[in-house]
């Protein structure tokens, strides 16, 4: 946890040595210490307190969502490489014997599993849109939600800031283009001020999602050209390539069209979200302020523990 040296492998080792994270044998899946969880809890309170004046409806989703919803969302068009689908054994006794035989022989026993109706949630807001659409027309003043979910992305890495299972907190605004853009503007300001109040170095920059393949390069360019995504970056594992800890996304009417989210007059809704990568923010705090949260600067502790 020496702030002078930045590299992902040594940061991960140091987190293990300090008992902040625990190895699981799989890159990107870790146990969290009580101290780490307490930092996340306090940070979540801070986020909720900052958003409280807006009176969002709070929904906590589980890490699994409807596979049909994921399919309809278009996620597989953009990020097939990151998605995960839950499979289970659905055979009879005969197949069970076969399965155990395959396991004993080191064969691919997972071939005997079948896809369930559950997919792993890739971002906290994916399960939200059909839930909202089912409630009928969106009121003229729009809708605001505060969401939380464990999320999965298949990208194993030694970089502790790139976990496969991590928590995301989000505010999602559904409304007119103007409403959602001003929501995003306000969170760009609030988010930066919040991170600065924790005495973390940060910058906000235009960004793109990791769309799949060569076509994805084009989608990324489109996203950049239109200024649809911004990220708040904090150096965590590298100074040259700081980590995106908050992201601010304008979806235009993509989800409105996909899910039939409309106002009473039939006009499609636009949406935007601000996402907080909770583990990433916690890692940034441990990286910059040291392994012992009790010894963090008083100003930082005051902001977090008064939240």
């Amino acid at each position: 946890m020496d702030a002078r040296t930045f590299d992902s492998k040594s940061l991960l080792d140091s987190l293990f040595e300090n008992g902040i994270l625990f190895e699981s044998g799989i890159d990107g899946l870790y146990g969290r210490s009580g101290a780490f969880e307490e930092v996340i809890e306090q940070f979540e309170r801070l986020v909720t307190r900052l958003g409280a004046p807006d009176k969002a409806t709070r929904i906590h989703f589980p890490p699994g969502m409807s596979r049909a919803t994921l399919e309809k969302s278009g996620y597989m068009k953009s990020f097939p490489q990151l998605a995960g689908c839950v499979h289970s054994f659905m055979g009879g006794e005969r197949e069970h014997v076969q399965l155990l035989g395959m396991m004993a022989d080191g064969g691919d026993w997972t071939a005997l599993q079948k896809a369930t109706d559950v997919a792993l949630t890739p971002a906290a807001c994916y399960p939200l849109y059909p839930t909202v659409a089912a409630r009928g027309p969106v009121p003229a003043q729009g809708l605001l939600f505060e969401l939380s979910s464990y999320c999965f992305r298949h990208e194993p890495s030694k970089d502790p800031a790139r976990m496969q299972l991590f928590r995301m907190r989000e505010f999602v605004q559904i409304g007119t283009a103007e409403q959602v853009r001003s929501f995003r503007e306000s969170w760009l300001k609030r988010g930066k001020a919040m991170i600065e109040s924790l005495d973390l170095p940060c910058e906000v920059d235009l960004a793109n999602d990791p769309f799949f393949g060569r076509g994805g390069k084009m989608m990324a360019n489109n996203q950049l050209d239109q200024g649809l995504k911004f990220e708040l970056l904090i150096p965590v594992t590298s100074i040259e390539k700081p980590t995106a800890c908050l992201s601010f996304n304008y979806h235009q009417d993509h989800f409105g069209q996909t899910w039939g989210l409309k106002f009473a007059d039939g006009e499609f809704c636009h949406s935007a979200c601000v996402g907080f990568g909770l583990e990433r923010v916690a890692l940034a705090l441990f990286r910059h302020h040291g392994p012992d949260a009790a010894a963090w600067p008083t100003a930082v502790r005051d902001v977090l523990w008064s939240a």
Partner: protein, 81 residues
């Protein structure tokens, strides 16, 4: 060239635009072209003309009108010839 491109794209099931009714310089994004449909368009053009768009050309502007697409395709086809 433009007519060949127009008829190719018109037949594409994943690009729901009425290319027959669009002028050569009409903005395809204004006509409803989505990012994902523009990727399908890029892949269909590469297959039809046996070309590969370099990363520098994978921009919104390259695919913003039939005229721009024809320019890009003929530029790449010339290089390949």
């Amino acid at each position: 060239m433009i007519d060949q491109i127009r008829s190719l794209l018109e037949q594409h099931p994943m690009i729901p635009l009425n290319f027959g009714a669009l002028a050569d310089d009409a903005n395809l994004y204004d006509a409803g072209l989505t990012s994902f449909a523009s990727v399908q368009m890029m892949l269909a053009l590469e297959e039809e003309f046996d070309i590969e768009f370099p990363e520098t050309m994978l921009t919104r502007r390259t695919f913003s009108s039939l005229a721009n697409i024809a320019d890009a395709v003929s530029q790449l086809a010339r290089k390949a010839a």
